[in-house]
């Protein structure tokens, strides 16, 4: 008997009881939906984090006073730490042997950038004070004009490089380089523009201005903790470089041997690691609940199939009377259960992917198609179809033809 015939028979049986079939596959669909939906959403966030949240380049890490993600207690502890000063950061930069670049930066948020003519941005622009090497360690690329130089740093020149959002707002017709702008009330000349970094989890990554670190500290104050960004000479020396940096900082900050670091280190890897740790619990929780709901749906399938076998006893008798083997009947009913589960699964997968990608829409990051999860979900449904379809099918296959024919 051909596979095509079995499929046709199964589909006809499913079509014959439309409402019942739909209700049954709804159970499977909901279970699969919750798995696929959550996994898609997690994947979207993961992608967004990988592409944007940390804007560090390859084998680069950053050192700062406060941790990137922490609970309330850890956060309060960290606030008591000493600031990382410009002098400390410079010492690190001088002593490091395994680093390609060491950038030092400070940040100030909530600034307004304006033209002398009065045109201005919203008061939400970030201003970064950077050393020249802060530009490559941040993975920023100059689109037009030039970068910050040592000369700018030594003389605290009022020069600025503007990112895309500022450029589009203040210079919609171009010509930014060479123009004058004001950061809050101070005047700066624009020496360059940055390539766009696109949006990420936190919103736009292009809403900032970079100025020389010394100029920045004159305008915004010297009493602040700075970030040190280190790009290792290569992937091979990354770990060594990280260790070297920690040791230098511990020495100059006089951390007791055996005490914890009084600063935080993070990299793309550590950020993704933290995020994965966090999502693992979500995945496990959702996985468990979905598994339970799929189990319930499976029992539903079995129930429906048993009813179906009883209802179709006569049909089974007829089929056997004209030559159907046990295996034909077994195949017919298992296939019916599998097809039912798979239709439910496909619906759940599609709705789950659409639902999960609503997070992509919300964070304005690109949507994902989690093929691995989709395939896994599909396989899972098929397995459920087999597991819960076997007993009813076995019952059908073992009916005595005479008794089945006599059934009314």
């Amino acid at each position: 008997m051909e596979f095509k015939e079995i499929i046709t028979i199964s589909l006809n049986a499913i079509k014959a009881n439309k409402l019942r079939s739909v209700l049954t596959l709804l159970g499977i669909g909901v279970g699969v939906f919750s798995i696929i939906g959550v996994m898609t959403a997690v994947r979207v966030l993961q992608n967004s984090i990988e592409s944007g949240l940390s804007n560090l380049g390859t084998h680069t890490f950053q050192i700062q006073k406060m941790p990137m993600m922490a609970g309330r207690d850890a956060w309060m502890q960290a606030r008591k730490r000493k600031d990382i000063t410009y002098a400390q950061a410079q010492t690190v930069a001088e002593r490091l042997t395994t680093a390609e670049h060491v950038g030092i930066e400070g940040w100030n948020g909530g600034n307004t950038i304006s033209l002398l003519s009065g045109e201005k941005t919203n008061p939400n622009v970030g201003v970064a004070g950077e050393t020249p090497e802060g530009i490559p360690t941040n993975n920023w690329t100059i689109k037009e004009g030039r970068s910050i130089t040592n000369n700018d740093l030594i003389h605290s020149y009022p020069v600025a490089i503007i990112a895309r959002d500022i450029e589009t707002k203040l210079f919609p017709r171009g010509g930014a380089v060479g123009s004058q702008i004001k950061i809050n009330s101070q005047r700066y000349s624009v020496i360059g523009t940055f390539e766009s970094k696109g949006a990420s989890l936190g919103g736009s990554s292009d809403n900032f201005v970079a100025v020389p670190l010394t100029t920045f500290m004159e305008q915004f104050g010297k009493q602040r903790s700075l970030n040190i960004m280190v790009k290792a000479k290569g992937a091979e020396v990354y770990d060594e470089c990280l260790e070297e940096t920690r040791m230098i900082l511990r020495t100059i900050r006089k951390v007791d041997p055996g005490a914890e670091d009084d600063f935080s280190v993070f990299s793309n890897d550590s950020l993704i690691g933290t995020f994965n740790e966090f999502t693992l619990y979500i995945k496990l929780g959702v996985g468990f609940i979905s598994f339970i709901s799929l189990l319930a749906a499976g029992v539903g399938i079995m129930n429906i199939m048993l009813v179906s076998v009883t209802e179709r006893t006569k049909e089974i008798g007829i089929r056997k009377a004209i030559g159907a083997r046990r295996s034909n009947i077994l195949g017919q009913f298992i296939t019916e259960a599998i097809v039912l589960c798979q239709i439910g699964g496909i619906v759940g997968i599609l709705v789950g992917i659409v639902g999960g990608n609503l997070t992509a829409l919300a964070f304005s990051v690109p949507p994902v198609f989690p093929l691995d999860w989709a395939l896994l979900g599909f396989a899972l449904c098929s397995v459920i179809g087999v597991v819960f379809g076997v007993y009813p099918a076995w019952k059908a296959a073992n009916l005595d033809p005479i008794e089945a024919l006599r059934y009314e």
Binding site: M1, E2, E5, N12, A16, K314, E315, G317, I318, R319, K320, A321, I322, G323, A324, R325, R326, S327, N328, P401, I402, L405
Partner: protein, 241 residues
Amino acid sequence: MSPMIRLSNIKKMYQMGDEEVHALSGVDIEIQKNEYVAIMGPSGSGKSTLMNVIGCLDTPTSGLYELNGTNVSEMNDNQLAKIRNKEIGFVFQTFNLLARSNVLHNVELPLIYGGVGSADRKRQANGAIERVGLGDRAHHKPNELSGGQRQRVAIARALVTNPSILLADEPTGNLDSKTGEEIMGLFDILHSEGNTIILVTHEEDIAAHAHRIVRIRDGKVEHDEKVKNRKIARAHTTTTA
């Protein structure tokens, strides 16, 4: 020449609680190729049980059943299914068609289980439907057909695999006498074309179409005789029997 069917001392016993019901208590029958046999007897005498045994739907409690020289009594489930599919064409009193499938699919079904490819299957099924005179009804569902037409579909389904024997258990039992006669006309034609036919009936009129009548009582063959005056002298047979 060895007979197509040889039953020797076939017994079928059912256990009903403490009581043993002997549906067949030692049946010996031989049937040759191209015979046209009517099995008659009162209700409960074991006619259906005998037909089911011959049709390999049921296995006897004891006794020997040879079909075309092979011992059917020793066959397993799958071998019996194959015999039912290839060697037997069964026609039931209540038609037993798949209600949700159209005429063509009903007739195709034995070929599907026989592993016949789609194109051959359609051709053979349509041929069988033509033979029973339902060429214009191939795409109708059973509930769109009259009782006589449904029985024709069942006959087409029984014929479609070119089986060795056509078995019919009271094929006219659910039909009015005129339609019953039409169905019997169809069996007559099939017999004249070389088919072997065994049918159960309790109507002398119907039995008169056959060449041989086997009378059963209490699970035993009571009488086995050639019909002298077939259908042509139907009035005679009815009055004399």
